[in-house]
């Protein structure tokens, strides 16, 4: 009787630990999905990067981004109201809710790349570093696409 009980207890403990571990590893850190940049002619003074940020355990904030391929980078949001296009600079960054996501998509939130625009041609990849308020910075390879 006793060994069975003990082994059951051990199994239960292992399962619990595993579950806890799997939980924390899936939602502990911020992850970046599908980063890409828009192919842009050389004459254009600006371009944009898009990506989806999956939030971690705690709410965080994307405060800035850096890339050697851009002169300056700013976080912007396009707001379309009644047919008018307006771009808004977001100096306070973009909120990433805990367990939620922040989607940077065409026609909405985007990372605006101003000046320089080094090799924004289809097929190229550009290293983009994302700086968060509390989490550690992450560098991702953004693929350049038409769009």
């Amino acid at each position: 009787m006793l060994p069975v009980k003990r082994s059951a207890l051990i199994v239960l403990t292992i399962v619990t630990v595993l579950l806890a571990a799997s939980c924390s590893s899936s939602s502990g850190e911020i992850t970046i999905d599908d980063p890409w940049g828009r192919a842009t002619p050389e004459a254009a003074p600006a371009s944009a990067f898009y990506l989806t940020i999956e939030g971690g355990d705690t709410a965080d904030r994307l405060v800035s981004a850096e890339s050697a391929a851009c002169g300056t980078i700013e976080l912007h949001e396009t707001i379309i109201t009644d047919g008018v296009m307006k771009m808004q600079h977001l100096p306070n960054g973009i909120e990433i809710p805990a367990g939620g996501e922040a989607a940077l998509e065409p026609g909405g939130l985007h990372v605006m790349c101003i000046g320089k625009l080094d090799d924004f041609t289809v097929g190229n990849t550009i290293a983009l570093t994302l700086v968060f308020e509390t989490a550690e910075s992450q560098t991702v390879d953004a693929e350049i696409r038409e769009g």
């Binding site: 109201t81 009644d82 047919g83 008018v84």
Partner: protein, 223 residues
């Protein structure tokens, strides 16, 4: 016998169809206001000194007048019409659509925000439903002269001459009515009637009813 029957089979429905189309065109069961042309886009400053643009009134029915501070008799007619239309708005069922009044001054030098505020007060305008605005002289020429096609000119002595006109614009930014104030009788009756027609069209803008209204445009069922 057979061929006659065949003629009946094709002829009757065909004739009915032609009759129906003709009846629609002749009796005009639905009336619409013509889509005259696009209303101009503009960037102006209102009586509060705030920026006021054509996009701020997108989705609303707007009645425009054009005047200046020292307009006097030139504008008396359009001013009175504007006031009368406001008083009688209750006669029309606008549903969810807002109705706004905009008076654009073509004399930005004298019509400062303070002067516009004084004008608004003179007309008892609340500043939200009825706004007074002006802008850069060159832009005003494009907006009022080229866009609304209302003639005005600065005389040598600095006063203005104007062809007093009211313009009705729908929520899609299309000019639907132009009322050149030329007679002694008020245009208010006509404008109220037109507002009624426009409100009816807006209520029926979608689905099958929308197609019937498009047909009314096609057959030029204009009042």
């Amino acid at each position: 016998m057979n061929s006659r029957r065949l003629v009946w089979w094709i002829g009757i429905p065909g004739a009915l169809l032609v009759l129906a189309v003709m009846a629609f065109a002749i009796f005009e069961p639905i009336q619409v206001l013509p889509r005259i042309r696009l209303s101009p886009g503009y960037l102006l400053t209102d009586q509060a000194g705030e920026s006021f643009t054509s996009e701020d009134v997108r989705g609303d029915i707007v009645l425009y007048t054009f005047r200046h501070n020292d307009c006097g008799n030139d504008c008396a007619g359009t001013d009175e019409t504007m006031l009368e239309v406001q008083d009688r708005l209750g006669e029309v069922d606008f549903g969810d659509t807002d109705v706004r009044f905009v008076t654009i001054s073509f004399d930005p030098e004298r019509d400062t925000p303070e002067a516009l505020t004084a004008e608004a007060e003179m007309f008892g305008a609340d500043g939200d439903q009825w706004r007074f605005a002006t802008g850069r002289a060159a832009h005003l020429k494009n907006v009022i002269g080229a866009g609304f096609k209302v003639w005005y000119e600065e005389r040598d002595d600095g006063t203005f001459a104007v062809d007093p006109t009211l313009i009705l614009v729908d929520g899609w930014g299309v000019i639907r009515g132009e009322y050149e104030y030329r007679t002694l009788t008020s245009d208010a009756d006509k404008i109220i009637h037109h507002l009624d027609i426009l409100a009816e069209e807006i209520r029926n803008a979608t689905g099958a009813a929308g197609l019937a209204y498009e047909a009314a445009h096609f057959f030029l069922c204009y009042p």
